[in-house]
Symmetry: C2
């Protein structure tokens, strides 16, 4: 048995296509939209199309930005240290660093990591664009350090190594963010791999 409305069925189907949205949730969302004014549906519909029509990748850092704002606000900002580039996998990771408010350099978004098993090679992510950025002759744009901030997965590590080998011959300092005990975490609840990394990465006091 399905709903007595084809329009309702279709909207439930479309909601259920979204990741992490099951049929029960899709049904609840659809019923919610039924009870909302038409303007609510219009706003969500417009936002969906706008994201497809207006969002592009910044020609500098490959971060997401609006069509009428390229390079992105971060790349255009006069308050950023242009000698450091932090390399991240996704715009969400970039946002995580920005939220800390501590990092003041530039970014480069790879939009993925090298993953041979998934058929993703260096040319499928934004490695070439990174290389172009750090190779520019203009003195004012000289990048001195690239900080790799990829996820601690096998693919992330592989990608970090690959990029590091490309950049070092260019005389650029390449670093990697520290792995260790999260702030506020209790040692007894930390997994062994993290503990080992924390021990390896110990620093003098």
């Amino acid at each position: 048995m399905r709903y007595t409305s084809g329009a309702i069925e279709t909207l439930i189907d479309e909601f259920a296509r979204l990741p992490g949205i099951g049929r029960k949730t899709a049904q609840r969302l659809c019923m919610h939209m039924l009870n909302e004014p038409r303007t609510a549906a219009e706003k969500l519909a417009k936002a969906l199309l706008d994201v497809k029509d207006r969002v592009i990748r910044c020609s500098e850092c490959q971060n997401v930005t609006d069509r009428d704002s390229d390079p992105c606000v971060l790349c255009r900002s006069s308050g950023r240290d242009r000698t450091v580039i932090c390399v991240v996998e996704s715009p969400v990771d970039l946002l995580a660093f920005e939220k800390t408010g501590h990092y003041k350099g530039l970014y480069h978004v790879l939009h993925g990591v090298i993953s041979p098993l998934d058929g993703i090679g260096p040319d499928d992510i934004k490695v070439r664009e990174l290389l172009a950025r750090v190779s520019r002759p203009e003195e004012s744009l000289q990048v001195r350090e690239v900080v790799l901030a990829l996820n601690p997965t096998v693919e992330g590590e592989t990608t970090s190594l690959y990029i590091s080998r490309l950049l070092k011959p260019l005389g650029i300092a390449v670093s990697k963010i520290a792995r260790g005990i999260p702030v506020g975490a209790e040692l007894e609840f930390i997994d062994e791999a993290t503990l080992s990394r924390a021990m390896e990465g110990r620093s003098a006091m």
Copy 2:
């Protein structure tokens, strides 16, 4: 810190307005749409507007139906017993009964329950429309029984009592669905109120 794209921020805001969708989930859904082809966004956008433009309430049973299908398929069906009407709170509850495949009568959807604390009175839900249905003089449409299938809440019980008092003087049999132990449930895990109800509602074997 927000995204470097206004279009992305707007879509996250709109997703986060949906019930049960937090900001993290909204962010994930937005990133998903960014990676989908434009047709995926178009389909969801169209489905949202269609639900507002095409869905109406059946003039007979108040169930949701499409504009070009009134009365709804259930009310038009020749295979239903027109002497019984099952009264439910919402289209979702109607669907739950239809899924069982056992009930073959008609329905009436109240679209809510009487709730004085929320300022919802009998005229704010579809009680008047139910009264009109059972009061029709045509012999062929004569309703003999109304089954109240509202949720076992204070408001549901109040509404059941209210409707029952309206219908009984009209010579219509009014019944209420049984409360009791769910099929397959183990007694030890059933709450006391349900156990008491099950005991009260015991039937001869």
